[in-house]
């Protein structure tokens, strides 16, 4: 059963081939068997899962099922789940039992999903390798010496190892797409504002966006149908009708104009990864797409700009963790200042501290114009590059990451080299555009991800292009050995 996609599992449940309780037991057993090796879950919730599975079976029997009713699901541990620990990968929230559900969590609950548990992640979603988690590194199922990527590394590894058919993720600078690429799965970051941020622990509020992590684009469409939508509790949620993302998966790609930004294929790209991407572009040509070379001239500024904007917003957002209302509190504080400083100093790991300090520096008196204002201006230039490109083309294609998964420990001594792992993903966050990563081959037995970037609110077109590619290739059907 674990080899089936969400679409196949949904059909099986509704046809009575198996029950949700059986399905849920099968996945819980797989987690039990394999997660000691992978460490992709922070919390597993077997009792809740079986309870939800029985309810789902009753709902299916009553013919009231949605396409997700009875489907096992894992949430990135950044989404608040009522009554379940929501740690955000941090010691700061190790004892935090959320008093409410994130909107995404309640929407998926009403669709009838079964919660298997909460997945591991880089602390507060800050990292590209899952090595900053308080709960330890996640292993990549394709090679347990390799990182799974990050920050949604637990979700990516769990889906790739088929410990869950689907997981949620969040993407601030590539945190859905880069781990999806490194683990050989499909990961979609929707347009900024498409999926509610309410109850999704904030890192950088003008960049954060939740989305689905699945094995196929068809599954991502099914899950996005339940995740997307206006939420009045999120002040930047967009009030725009949600289309049926499954409706256009089979549209022809004849005449689709795909732009290849020359800056995404320069010397920073591993040449074998480049070859795999070239081969996938040829598939698109065979499918009838027209390939056009384009330029996004400010691409090289995306990482520097991001490392002002994201830390600045992070330093503001993370000021709420003060040891007073929830989360970690130090022992016997001498005074209020000591309480704040020691609770935060003990509760946050090194990468989070770095980003809080970087953001505080960029926002501090005398530096604001030189850093934060400057970064906001360059953000406009980066966004304008895309606006101009989309006047001539329908989609942008390129690599998701500059290399395949690197080894555990390889980059965690040098933050800047780690930051450059997100060189091709960050610009879509700065501009707020939707983007997807899909499996596109292997280099030294580690997966390669192809990234497609779409214009605002064109998730359906992205998913259609990804689905069509998955009809003529089988990279998404490969399974890591031993899992």
């Amino acid at each position: 059963m674990h080899d089936k996609t969400v679409a196949q599992l949904g059909a099986g449940l509704r046809n009575g081939e198996f029950s949700s309780v059986e399905l849920t037991r099968a996945f819980l057993e797989r987690i039990e068997k394999h997660d000691k090796t992978l460490n992709s879950f922070i919390t597993v919730t077997p009792e809740l899962a079986l309870e939800q599975a029985s309810a789902a079976d009753a709902r299916i029997k009553a013919n009231e099922a949605t396409p997700l009713t009875g489907i096992p699901f894992a949430h990135k541990d950044i989404f608040c789940t009522q009554g379940i620990r929501t740690s955000c990968g941090s010691k700061m929230l190790d004892n935090f039992i959320s008093p409410y559900d994130a909107t995404v969590v309640s929407q998926l609950k009403s669709a009838g999903i079964v919660t298997l548990g909460k997945t591991n992640m880089d602390e507060f979603a800050m990292g590209s390798s899952n090595e900053t988690s308080y709960y330890g590194t996640v292993k990549n199922p394709w090679d347990t010496n390799a990182v799974p990527g990050g920050s949604s590394g637990g979700s990516a590894a769990a889906v790739a190892a088929r410990l869950t058919p689907v997981a949620s993720g969040t993407d601030t600078g590539g945190s859905i797409r880069q781990p999806a690429a490194l683990c050989g799965i499909t990961g979609l970051k929707p347009t900024y504002g498409r999926v509610s941020r309410y109850g999704m622990i904030a890192f950088a509020s003008s960049l954060d966006q939740g989305g689905p992590m699945t094995r196929t684009a068809e599954d991502a469409a099914i899950v996005l149908n339940a995740m997307a939508g206006f939420d009045e509790r999120d002040s930047t949620s967009i009030d725009k009708p949600v289309p049926d993302y499954s409706a256009h998966l089979n549209d022809s790609l004849e005449g689709l104009k795909i732009g290849l930004p020359k800056e995404y294929f320069d010397e920073g790209l591993d040449s074998a990864v480049g070859d795999a991407i070239d081969a996938s572009i040829k598939e698109y040509q065979k499918l009838g797409a027209e390939i056009v070379e384009i330029s996004l001239p400010n691409t090289h500024l995306a990482v520097p700009t991001y490392y002002v904007v994201a830390p600045a917003e992070c330093s503001t957002n993370l000021s709420r963790f003060d040891g007073v209302r929830y989360g970690h509190r130090c022992d016997s504080p001498k005074n209020l200042e000591d309480l704040y400083k020691r609770s935060r100093g003990e509760g946050f790991g090194d990468e989070v501290k770095r980003r809080i300090m970087m953001g505080t520096y960029a926002l501090s008196s005398g530096y604001y114009d030189a850093y934060y204002l400057k970064a906001q201006k360059i953000r406009r230039l980066i966004s304008d590059d895309f606006r101009k490109a989309f006047e001539k083309i329908d989609l942008i294609a390129g690599p998701t990451a500059p290399s395949v998964a690197f080894n555990i420990g390889e980059k965690n001594e040098d933050p800047v080299s780690m930051y450059l792992s997100d060189i091709y993903t960050i610009a879509a966050n700065l501009a707020g555009l939707p983007a997807i990563s899909i499996p596109a081959g292997f280099v030294t037995d580690r997966p390669v991800g192809l990234q497609l970037i779409g214009n605002y609110f064109e998730e359906a077109r992205l998913l259609g292009a990804a689905h069509q590619y998955q009809q003529v290739t089988d990279w998404h059907n490969h399974h890591p050995e031993g899992f």
């Binding site: 347009t191 090289h300 209302r325 929830y326 005074n335 309480l339 770095r354 201006k377 360059i378 953000r379």
Partner: protein, 95 residues
């Protein structure tokens, strides 16, 4: 750009972040190299560019000024480190 220990101490204080003195050299090195990365922005002339605060240019939504949330104090305080009689406790602020 090279940062001094005093820069890190100032920023850590502004952020109310306790830093272990043993970690200081590492923070100085790493934050300096992040600033070098960020300084690549200086090569661009942005004199006439409008800053972009938000990816989608929309006006902030307003709602009627009505009470929408119910009182959940007990539930919220159940996860607080230290409370008494409905109040959050902190060390004495005034003598």
């Amino acid at each position: 750009m090279s940062l001094q220990q005093s820069d890190i101490e100032k920023v850590a204080h502004l952020a109310r972040l306790g830093i272990d003195p043993a970690d200081m050299p590492e923070h100085i090195k790493n934050l300096s190299s992040i600033l070098d990365l960020v300084d690549q922005m200086n090569a661009v002339d942005t004199e006439s560019v409008m800053p972009m605060a938000h990816p989608v240019d929309t006006a902030q939504r307003l709602r009627p000024d009505e009470v929408t949330e119910t009182d959940q104090r007990e539930q919220f305080q159940a996860i607080a480190p230290q409370v008494e009689a409905g109040l959050y406790l902190v060390p004495k602020v005034m003598e």
